[in-house]
């Protein structure tokens, strides 16, 4: 009220403005949002922004990628390790369409990105102008929000909204398409104000204590409770709250691949990985628990297997920030909507301190069976060709589980996720929901920018490496330090495994030839080495890790190893196969 009166007495002083271009306003907005790194690629329709960037070199580090898809994955890697929003620039037309895979990946894996695309002049929209594509409509299904700016005056507010939407609630990618005239246009700039409210957008549901109470009651009665945790724990920065909940309740906890590292791998209540190539116990015992507590995970079909035979005996408690996830795949008994950073402490306060000794022991017994049937021979083969698993094991020994592991998609991904040790949160960067081959190399570049003081190791298949290997150029030019391990099985291994198991070994277009990867790296002035003998492994890994700067290590592994255990598609989690 007082404020209102004051306003009547003394007219508000006119806001100080400066005349700036839309491009400058954009860069100022990025700085105000705390952006330090941009992954991008220039072109005609985004030239005014790049021209402005020329004068911002000291404040904004622009990394020139070799393909816009690489830009998006780098942005994702950056976001995953730093917890900040990844920023990507691309030009109109082909530049923008090249973003689509990365946007789809970020959308399904809830990764915060702000992508800026240049667009043709507003007066040319809809005329099939040179390099005009309908970027807004192409990207609508794969963005959390997108918007086309045609007037520079809109830029500060729109960018503020973009960052707020990308990172709040369930994060996701946002694309802002800026027509060239708006980039050039001078306008009265009043400074930048961050956005913290959009009336039609409710990122975080209000926590309802009665549901937390019901959840606690269920947990306290449970004899065989089981926790499934996903990336929500990391996205909510709720690792401490999660650990406190697990330790007080004494409940065994298993992770989705995006949840890996939310609690250290060797925590006694961390019972392993869920899903198609997850661990034996977590899969089988999903169908034996009495209360299932899902935290920040979305019951992806790779996790649940056949839905009508999934945890039917269990009461389900689902903690999630996104109301649309509740009941989407698995019917919930008690929904606990909200940010798990907020809900977990409330729940921890109400659950009884317990130890489910026998129940946890049962998980350990399953682990033992899995070790005997699968793990031991994967990690400690004594003869024959090297396995993927032993490479990961040796890497664990050398990095002590402190490295960021970035994986591509395929057998090596499953092996790496299964066996890598994660002592720290934000250590596992992988393409989970979309399964995008070609993700790892650019994502590793971004991951390093997002966590400069950590060792970043990319683990990539011989197939996937060839999808985005042009990003070696980005490594060369930026000097970023990424360690690259190619696990070369001379096959599109994961597809070959399915053809072996389900298509009577009819190997249809899975035997892929590769270039000399070490020579390829050398062409980009990146040192490398290829090994095929077990006794070279440790030394080569050491050499890679000790090398100042990037290094490419190609490891020749067995051609026809299969990843087990496996829940075959269409089967129930309890039908998991050990061989």
């Amino acid at each position: 009220m007082e404020v209102a009166q004051q306003e009547i007495l003394t007219p508000a002083p006119a806001k100080e403005t400066t005349r700036v271009s839309g491009s400058v306003a954009l860069l100022e907005a990025l700085i105000a949002e705390g952006v330090d790194t941009i992954f991008g690629y220039p072109g005609g329709a985004i030239m005014p922004i790049y021209d402005a960037l020329y004068d911002y070199n000291d404040k904004l580090n622009h990394v020139l990628v070799r393909h816009e898809q690489g830009g998006t994955h780098a942005g994702q890697g950056y976001a995953r390790t730093s917890g900040k929003v990844g920023v990507v620039f691309a030009t109109s037309g082909p530049g923008a369409t090249n973003l689509v895979t990365g946007l789809a990946d970020a959308q399904i894996d809830s990764t915060p990105l702000v992508c800026i695309t240049g667009q043709v002049f507003a007066h040319l929209l809809g005329t099939d102008a040179f390099q005009e594509t309908d970027v807004i409509n192409i990207t609508t299904p794969v963005t959390k929000w997108n918007y086309q700016v045609t007037d520079a005056n809109e830029i500060p507010e729109v960018i503020a909204k973009a960052f707020y939407i990308a990172k709040s609630g369930r994060p996701g990618p946002v694309l802002i398409d800026i027509t060239k005239n708006a980039q050039i246009q001078l306008f009265d700039y009043e400074g930048y104000t961050k956005c913290d409210h959009i009336r039609s957008y409710r990122p975080t549901p209000i926590v309802r204590p009665q549901y937390v109470e019901q959840a606690a009651a269920l947990i306290n009665q449970a004899k065989k409770p089981f926790i499934l945790f996903g990336q929500g724990v990391l996205l909510g920065s709720a690792e401490q709250e999660f650990k406190a909940f697990v330790e007080k309740s004494g409940i065994p906890a298993a992770w989705t691949i995006l949840g890996a590292g939310a609690i250290p791998t060797d925590h006694p209540l961390n019972v392993g990985m869920l899903g198609m190539h997850g661990n034996y116990g977590p899969n089988v015992l999903t169908n034996e628990c009495d209360v299932l507590i899902a935290i920040g995970m979305r019951f992806d079909d790779r996790v649940t297997g056949r839905l009508d035979k999934y945890a039917k005996q269990a009461k389900v408690i689902h903690l999630d920030i996104d109301p649309a996830e509740i009941d989407k795949n698995v019917k919930t008994t008690v929904p606990v909507w909200g940010d798990c950073k907020e809900t977990l402490p409330l729940l921890t306060a109400l659950v009884e301190e317990k130890q489910h000794t026998d129940w946890v022991k049962l998980f350990n017994e399953y682990t033992q069976k899995e070790v005997e049937a699968v793990i031991h021979k994967e990690l400690n083969p004594s003869d024959g060709e090297m396995t993927m698993g032993e490479v990961i094991k040796q890497l664990n020994d050398l990095t002590k589980g402190e490295a960021v592991i970035v994986t591509d998609v395929g057998q090596h991904q499953m092996v790496a996720c299964r066996y890598a040790q994660f002592n720290k949160t934000r250590s596992n960067v992988t393409s989970g929901g979309l399964g995008t081959m070609g993700f790892a190399l650019p994502a590793a570049i971004g991951a390093k920018y997002g966590a400069q003081d950590r060792t970043v190791v990319a683990i990539i298949g011989d197939g996937g490496f060839q999808m985005t290997c042009q990003e070696l150029g980005t490594i060369m030019q930026s000097g970023v330090d990424v360690k690259i391990i190619i696990l070369n099985n001379r096959f599109l291994g994961m597809v070959r495994q399915w053809q072996e198991l389900f298509n009577e070994r009819r190997y249809s277009f899975v035997d892929i030839q590769s270039p000399d990867f070490v020579a390829l790296a050398a062409a980009y002035r990146i040192p490398g080495k290829c090994i095929s003998e077990r006794d070279e492994l440790q030394g080569a890994l050491k050499e890679m890790l000790d090398n100042k700067g990037s290094f490419l290590l190609e490891v020749m592994v067995t051609k026809e190893n299969n990843v087990f255990p496996m829940v075959p598609q269409g089967c129930s989690v309890s039908e998991i196969r050990l061989k």
Partner: protein
């Protein structure tokens, strides 16, 4: 796989949104992505200036409709989504019929038929007459059958508009939305407010 198909029926989905270019597409693809046909779609102003109202009709099971509404409500520019069965709304569709003026002039009975069916003439010209009627689907369909023998030249029916019987409008809700910390009822889906009715323990 389940032996009992869930019952499908018409649902009226009401969406309050900001007025934003591109939002129609964002909403439409939520249906098309799942290969769900939109029977009828209407966009219009609402009781509040600047707030838009969509009326969408689909034929689906309630379970599917509930999931769809949550996906719609998730869109940044969508304020609120409701769904209702036909019993819970007052709804109307408008239809126009073009017939030859000569033919109806000859057959006086047509005039009577139209009046009996609540139709009225919008335009009468020498060459044709346009009638209009408003009502439920059966009523507008009925008139097609009646006019067909007299040479129906053109027919068109509008999308459905529906008013929710037990709604108090959106004004109070909007004020909640504008607050930084709104009350419980706007922040979550109303299905949760129904608590036990939806989630069985």
């Amino acid at each position: 796989m389940s032996n009992q198909e869930p019952i499908q029926q018409e649902f009226n989905i009401t969406i309050y949104t900001e007025n934003q270019v591109g939002l129609l597409n964002r909403i439409a693809i939520i249906f098309t992505r799942r290969k769900i046909n939109i029977d009828s779609l209407n966009t219009s102003p609402s009781e509040i200036e600047s707030i838009h109202r969509f009326n969408i009709v689909i034929t689906e099971s309630e379970d599917v409709v509930r999931k769809l509404t949550r996906q719609i409500e998730k869109q940044v520019e969508v304020l609120k989504v409701y769904y209702h069965t036909n019993e819970d709304v007052i709804w109307q569709e408008l239809a126009l019929y073009k017939v030859s003026t000569d033919v109806i002039a000859e057959k006086v009975s047509v005039e009577r038929l139209l009046r009996e069916n609540g139709a009225r003439a919008v335009v009468i010209r020498k060459d044709y007459t346009v009638f209009e009627t408003t009502g439920h689907r059966e009523e507008t369909d009925n008139l097609i059958n009646i006019l067909q023998p007299y040479g129906l030249i053109e027919f068109v029916r509008s999308a459905r508009v529906a008013i929710i019987k037990d709604s108090e409008g959106f004004n109070a809700k909007l004020r909640e939305f504008e607050r930084l910390e709104p009350g419980e009822e706007v922040i979550e889906n109303e299905y949760l407010n129904k608590g036990a009715k939806v989630f069985t323990m």
